[in-house]
Symmetry: C2
Subunit: 210 residues, 2 copies
Amino acid sequence: MVRRTGRRPGNPDTRDAILATARTAFAEKGYDGASIRHIATGAGVDPALVHHYFGTKDKLFLAAMNAPLDPGELIPEVLAGDQDAIGERLVRFFLSIWDSPAGKAGVAMLRSAVSSEWTAKLFREFVVSQVLRRVRQLVPMPPAEAPMRVSLVASQLAGLAMARYVIKIEPLASASPEVLVAAIGPTIQRYVFGDLSGVWASPPPPDTAG
Amino acid sequence: MVRRTGRRPGNPDTRDAILATARTAFAEKGYDGASIRHIATGAGVDPALVHHYFGTKDKLFLAAMNAPLDPGELIPEVLAGDQDAIGERLVRFFLSIWDSPAGKAGVAMLRSAVSSEWTAKLFREFVVSQVLRRVRQLVPMPPAEAPMRVSLVASQLAGLAMARYVIKIEPLASASPEVLVAAIGPTIQRYVFGDLSGVWASPPPPDTAG
């Protein structure tokens, strides 16, 4: 059993205790509801120590998820440039990450996400706060449409990761990245900027995407 | 420990032993390589008993996967009719299954599929032999293109299941089926019948989809 109080700052278990408490907080309160102050209290340490170890709340979340990369650094690069090719760029970027050594950590994150309701909630908070929210902020979409558009993008990219890296359905699993950019890029482009008038024909559900 | 020999036909463990042996056979040898005769030998029973309990190899596979429905019965219905609306029909059908009580078994199958390499392989054999192969047989696609086209369909539908039922990304998770039919139907239609000339520009990989 892990003791949660009376740790010395140099105790190597302190870092793990903070990360475990952070995972609980992000899953139970969500990204917006979780605070470094509460996480520090839960782990029995001073908030200054959490800042010292991890920096910002975003960086703490990345560490808690064992994320191999920081979406906050990569997403602005991918989204900059020609908006007519944003779908192709997103697919090419997504595949370059998953085909790299970081892809192993991605599969591990996906396996963990699917293993229980609790881990799925934690993963959802991560994807929404670290990826989808940033895409919504950086891509000029009508605000009422943006939550549905980015969740559609997420559905196709999650399925690409599942089909290629987890279930490994051929010939998609062995296809070259450029084949998949040509196949799936237009799907993403339509979800981001295309005519989805049939979707807006029914009133959109309330924005709960955070 | 489960004894594999000397069972009486009426032994309730016999059924479980056959199913466990079948899972191993389907994962290790694939659908085509697994035979009822070998599975019976592995479980220490007569092949006639396997046929008596489960019927065909397809039905044995369904039982081994705890599949809530038989894709072999449902797929021909869904694929019959107007080919210009096949994308919408597939999405509507997919959502009607996952939104029904059978959806819980679907989530359980997906969780299990993702949990290890072995279960992923078993799930892949199931999806390819019970779903994708039938779609390829029933939908008039050029044979050289069909494997990539159906694996693209599988990627979007797997991602829809992940985003809506496992990770639960809003507003997609709470959207009405018809909203998602309007959003994702055209994606599936393009994957099945649309112009994917950019995909065929590079030579397609060898057909390994079974």
